[in-house]
């Protein structure tokens, strides 16, 4: 670890936070229903759309109607994307003449983009037509991100309101998020990427002559626009299989820093917007602080593990001063690669600028663990916030009794019904991740996909299902995931990780919205101070992490101790 490296990391974090504060305020104003007055332009633009779609924006929905709207919308998105992928050969903008996708791959990819996972079992540049990329995938990069934010807004309103049955209008939240948040930010960011050298063209290929005189075919396409929403919406699905390691997607140090910034900014702004919308700004910052503490710790562990390198290679005479550079891009360096690794997994983004498979065992343990914690640091856009709220409710419930009152979070009593729904939600991750990993570990058809033997192979399996269920989308890339078994099971994992989690959480929000918000007093559990932040961090680590500890012990942890003992796989 170098001072310059640490300073780079600190700078990007500070810039992200500096942008998140005003953005959070803007979002709070945009999504508060009383903001209608000062946003008359907003009203006029969106009003036309509602009339066209026959939506009455003033009519609010209860939790069930809101959730069903979301599910129907997602179901329609899945069907249309599946069809596009299955018939892309017949559709325009296919200069390379790519074939249709197989049913299982189309199923997997459709769910993947729908759930904001962007798990890619294929290589984009050799599989997807421009039509599929732009009309199919890029659209869902916006919509899946907007869906996440809309859900988070509905859950926010459950705390902001008292004794009501409604949580807002799904269609209004979707329109506002897309039109007034994601699109403007993406435009600005796309231009910035173009300025930094990312291509944006409809040309399919260029042929170049290499120094040896051989002919090289370079894939091209509308990358800058895709890149912008890929990062902003914590999607992570790249134009190239190589994702942000590719020099076209991520040409240099500045574009790399901008990519990390873009991943962080919306998810960081959401807790701030949450605090303002519920009228307790400090509460928003407390949630953000808990996320920040863990994320910064994770960045430092990855950086430390990678910078100290692999003792096995050092013994072979490699210069240890560069650390473990395997799978990393020299133009990004150790520090900014480490930061990218931790941020993309803490965030449920899944874009990569280094090969996670080539990280040291400890360095690879961190991203996997961050995903298994439930993608809350600070998590995917929207999903990170409601995941964190679930953890906060657990923390309040476990420790809140210790102040001698029945647990309440921001004035809302947490009772049996809420607890039931919270537990239903938290059960999803271990069930899917550990369940599918264990089955795959015993299934010869699945084991054939592993590139490595021993504990590293197990890590690949665990990572795949963690990434899918956590809606992250990054991979220990040496796993050959494009097989019917993995396409179907990771597809199911992604769907359960998104919808299986959020439906009970929405039901809980519905129940909370109907409760009276009790005023805080000296006797209520203070949930906005350092003590609560520490408690929340502890609960995330113990309740979120302990369930995966035995599995991790057999994967990266044993790999790490074996590496120290001089053994590799």
């Amino acid at each position: 670890m170098t001072f310059i490296g640490l300073a780079q990391i600190a700078l990007v974090f500070v810039l992200a936070l500096a942008a998140a504060v005003p953005l959070g305020r803007y979002m709070a104003a945009l999504f508060s229903s009383d903001a209608a007055g000062d946003a008359s332009l907003v009203r006029r633009i969106e009003g036309g759309l509602y009339r066209l779609a026959g939506v009455d924006p003033a009519r609010e929905q209860g939790w069930l109607a809101y959730t069903l709207s979301m599910l129907v919308f997602s179901g329609f998105g899945f069907a249309s994307l599946y069809v596009i992928l299955r018939v892309q050969a017949l559709l325009p903008w296919n200069p390379q003449g790519f074939d249709n996708l197989s049913p299982d791959l189309a199923f997997n990819t459709a769910i993947s983009f729908l759930t904001n996972t962007n798990w890619q079992a294929y290589s984009g540049e050799t599989t997807m037509s421009h039509f599929s990329q732009m009309v199919g995938l890029a659209v869902h990069n916006f919509l899946s991100a907007a869906t996440g934010i809309a859900l988070a807004l509905a859950i926010t309103r459950a705390f902001a309101r008292s004794n009501v049955a409604t949580l807002g209008n799904f269609w209004v939240d979707m329109v506002r998020t897309t039109l007034f948040l994601l699109l403007p930010l993406s435009f600005a960011l796309a231009f910035a990427f173009v300025a930094l050298g990312v291509p944006q063209t409809m040309v399919g290929f260029v042929d170049a002559a290499t120094l040896e005189g051989a002919k090289q075919t370079l894939a091209l396409g509308p990358m800058a626009s895709q890149e912008a929403i890929k990062q902003l919406g914590t999607n992570g699905g790249g134009f190239f299989n190589a994702n942000s390691t590719h020099p076209f997607e991520n040409p240099g140090a500045l574009s790399n820093a901008l990519q990390i910034w873009a991943m962080l900014v919306v998810s960081t702004a959401l807790p701030i917007a949450f605090g303002r919308m519920v009228g307790l700004p400090r509460q928003g910052y407390a949630l953000l602080a808990a996320m920040g503490v863990l994320l910064i710790a994770a960045v430092l562990v990855v950086y430390g593990a990678e910078a100290s390198g692999n003792p096995l290679l050092t013994q072979l005479g490699l210069d240890p001063s560069q650390g473990n550079m395997e799978g990393k891009e020299v133009r990004f360096g150790q520090a900014m690669s480490a930061m990218f690794v931790a941020v993309t997994t803490g965030l449920s983004c899944g874009a990569v600028n280094a090969m996670h498979d080539a990280l040291t065992p400890l360095g690879g343990f961190v991203p996997m663990f961050l995903i298994q914690l439930g993608e809350v640091l600070p998590g995917g856009v929207g999903s990170g916030l409601y995941g964190m709220i679930v953890f906060a409710i657990l923390a309040v419930f476990v420790a809140g009794l210790m102040v001698g009152r029945t647990p309440e979070f921001m004035g809302k009593k947490i009772e049996a019904r809420e607890m039931k729904l919270v537990m239903l939600a938290v059960l999803i991750l271990p069930l899917v991740i550990l369940g599918f990993s264990a089955v795959s570990a015993m299934l010869p058809a699945a084991l054939a996909s592993l590139a490595n033997a021993g504990p590293h192979g197990l890590s690949e399996l665990l990572y795949a299902y963690s990434s899918a269920a956590g809606n992250n989308g990054s991979a220990f890339a040496s796993l050959n995931a494009n097989t019917p078994w993995f396409n179907v099971t990771t597809g199911i994992s992604m769907a359960l990780g998104r919808f299986g989690y959020v439906v009970p959480v929405m039901a809980m929000a519905g129940s909370l919205a109907g409760k009276t918000r009790a005023p805080a007093s000296a006797g209520t559990f203070p949930t906005d101070g350092p003590l609560f932040i520490g408690l929340l961090v502890g609960v995330i680590l113990i309740l979120g992490g302990l369930q995966f500890f035995p599995a991790l012990a057999l994967g990266p942890i044993v790999e790490h101790v074996l590496m120290l003992a001089g053994k590799t796989f």
């Binding site: 001698g404 607890m419 537990m423 264990a438």
Partner: protein, 683 residues
């Protein structure tokens, strides 16, 4: 404060003996089903027992090891059932003595209550129905709960309250309710029965004390769901480990996986949860408060606002003389002496307080009036008392009465007299005037005296985030003065029962929980509306039905203790939950390296406790897991220490003790057990 019934010793020999038997009876899976954590433990204990038997028969395996694991798993379950049995046992002794009063009571039931001849026939108390009218005479036990429709009598209620001083019960008014099982000492009563057999106050008390009708309270239910959910999560983690370990070429035996599961699921809090709830109710009973539902005990912990009656709770209830304010040319002692003389014949509490003040503060002795003094006793009509002796005519009384007596209008009185009168009135007190031979000497300050120490208690409540509201029939000026002296946060002056109800509704709309106490029939709607309504045992039947707690001592100050007991119950639950979950970290460090050490000896690096062998590590973790339940039974029964400080301070302290303590303690405990296990060659 009023801790009456002495608590049986925590591990009273008789209770423990009975509980040890009960602990086995409670192993019935149908009973344990309600406690998912312990139920799972019992199922896997049976499984391991079966595996041990199979190993023993077939040979192979490690029967010595699995046998020990099986034993300790059964102990884990037994310790949990034992904790519950001990908690219940403490209530059972009390129930037995209550039951004695109920059996074989005879009742004199009127054949026709309206018949003036009053013919009655003897029936068994158990045959009485609601609406029957019975005669109870001196020496009779009142056969059932009822309302007096005729008569006045002194009643010994010690069977219910433990208080042997008799109380007066009479028809009409707020003292018309009688409780079955209490004894009439003098006179007679005509009582209309209001409770069906089996549901009288004593019957309900017995049921509550025994915990027979115990249902999970709302928070207990929510906590059970969390614990069940965690059990399920760890079940998934352990079952899938079997598959994952298989990939790594490690064979993990079922016994070891079971050991991992049982140490990870929250058995500590799971085993103690119902004991904590029973003990909380028990604490309340020992404060002579009967809660008709566990829900109300939890609600007591959540209370935000206490509605307290001024009289009897905040003040002593009688106005007392606190100072003498003399006019310019009169010495204070002269005024005091005159007031003393004028009040000697005043037997009202105010009069006696004047005497006490003059004798106490000013050290005056009984005055000598010489021969034949003429005493003017206090009369409600004149509102004056005094004495005529040796040419002196001393009077004291209400200002207007004295002024009329001396014939001076208020405007012509000395200015310092008027100032004193105004000063006393504006401070919420009552001024009395003293005159001698037609000359005004000064003013006596009568004041509603606030109980000593009550201000500090309110300050403590405020620190806990609880607002206190004083309810009084006084005018707003008097109420404000007393409110500021007692340090309450708000007051309701000139309050009618409807005002109370409106106030409670208003607070509840704002999301606050309200506790109040009351005894009159007109309090009943407010008692029913309040989240915690404590009715006085001396109150009317309507009030007792409306509230969800009955204070047998009829001491309204007890509301504060009730809140503290509620908070203590919740704190105990939370502390042990936190402790239980924090324990998991150390158990992982004990068991995980032991699980895989055969395949990956390098994982020994995780064995930070340096436990002797894999078997001893697993066994020690299981033993620790079982013993910690027993070790925490006293804490579960007594409750964690409660201090009236703010939530932030409480949280900091409890997190440190039970959170950090829960992280560290098992490392030490497991290591210690491992040393013993290794020394005894048990593994």
């Amino acid at each position: 404060m009023s801790k009456k019934a002495s608590a049986p010793h925590l591990f009273d020999g008789k209770i423990v003996a009975a509980a040890s038997v009960d602990a086995f009876r409670k192993l019935d899976p149908r009973h344990l089903m309600h406690n998912p954590v312990i139920f799972v433990t019992e199922v896997v204990a049976a499984l391991v027992t079966f595996l041990w038997a199979r190993e023993l028969m077939n040979g192979g395996g490690a029967p010595f090891f699995s046998g020990q694991i099986a034993i300790w798993l059964w102990f884990t379950v037994l310790f949990a059932t034992f904790a519950e049995a001990v908690a219940e046992g403490r209530g059972k002794a009390q129930a037995a003595s209550l039951r004695a009063t109920r059996s074989d009571t005879h009742a004199k039931r009127y054949l026709d209550p309206t018949d003036p001849k009053g013919l009655y026939s003897g029936v068994n108390a158990l045959d009485l129905r609601v609406g029957d009218v019975v005669l109870v005479e001196a020496g009779d036990i009142i056969p059932s709960d009822g309302e007096i429709i005729e008569g006045v009598a002194s009643v010994n209620e010690s069977a219910v309250t433990g208080e042997s001083a008799p109380v007066i019960r009479e028809a009409g008014g707020d003292r018309s309710a009688v409780t079955g099982g209490t004894t009439v000492l003098s006179d007679w009563l005509k009582v209309r029965v209001t409770a069906a057999p089996g549901s009288t106050f004593i019957d309900r008390m017995i049921a509550l004390v025994e915990g027979a009708e115990r249902q999970k309270t709302p928070n207990e239910l929510a906590l059970s769901i969390l614990l069940a959910g965690m059990t399920l999560i760890f079940l998934i983690a352990v079952v899938t480990l079997w598959g994952l370990a298989g990939y790594s070429g490690t064979f993990v035996s079922v016994v070891v996986l079971v050991a991992l599961l049982v140490t990870l699921i929250p058995t500590t809090i799971g085993g103690l949860l119902s004991a904590i709830g029973i003990a909380g109710m028990d604490r309340l009973i020992r404060f002579n408060v009967i809660a008709t539902s566990g829900r109300s005990v939890e609600a007591a912990g959540d209370v935000d606002t206490l509605l307290l009656d001024k009289t009897g709770t905040i003040t002593f209830g009688n106005r007392m003389a606190t100072e003498f304010l003399s006019v310019a040319d009169v010495a204070e002692e002269e005024l005091a002496a005159a007031a003393l003389s004028a009040s000697l014949a005043d037997e009202t509490p105010e009069g006696r307080s004047i005497v006490a003040l003059a004798k106490g503060e000013y050290g005056l002795a009984d005055p000598d009036f010489g021969a034949q003094p003429t005493i003017v006793p206090f009369a409600a009509q004149t509102r004056i008392s005094g004495v005529d002796a040796a040419g002196r005519s001393i009077r004291k009384g209400a200002i207007d009465s004295i002024l009329r007596h001396v014939g001076v209008p208020l405007e012509r009185t000395p200015p310092e007299f008027r100032r004193a009168v105004d000063g006393v009135a504006s401070s919420g007190g009552t001024p009395l005037a003293v005159a001698e031979n037609g000359r005004l000497l000064g003013v006596i300050h009568l004041k509603d005296v606030v109980k000593p120490g009550i201000k500090e208690r309110f300050a403590a409540l405020r620190a806990m985030g609880i607002r206190t509201v004083m309810v009084t029939g006084d005018n707003p000026v008097t109420a404000a003065a007393i409110a500021s002296e007692a340090g309450v946060d708000d007051f309701l002056a000139e309050a009618t029962p409807e005002d109370k109800l409106t106030y409670i509704r208003k607070e509840q709309t704002g999301g606050r929980l309200i506790a109040m106490c009351g005894d009159g029939t007109n309090d009943a709607p407010a008692l029913a509306q309040a989240d915690v309504g404590v009715s006085m045992q001396t109150g009317t039947q309507a009030a007792r039905e409306a509230g969800n707690m009955v204070d047998l001592d009829s001491n309204p100050t007890k509301l504060i203790e009730i809140v503290e007991i509620g908070k203590q119950l919740l704190m105990t639950r939370g502390s042990l939950t936190t402790f239980s979950i924090a324990n998991d970290v150390a158990k992982y460090f004990a068991i995980l390296p032991a699980l895989f050490i055969a395949t990956y000896p390098q994982l020994g690096a995780l064995n930070v406790m340096r436990l002797a062998s894999p078997q001893s590590a697993i066994l020690s973790a299981v033993i620790f897991n079982a013993l910690i339940i027993v070790a925490l039974i006293p804490l579960a029964l007594k409750g964690v220490a409660y201090r009236p400080v703010g939530a932030a301070a409480l949280l900091r302290r409890n997190l440190l003790v039970y959170g950090v303590g829960g992280l560290v303690l098992p490392f030490i405990g497991i290591k210690a057990i491992d040393l013993v296990v290794a020394a005894l060659h048990l593994a």
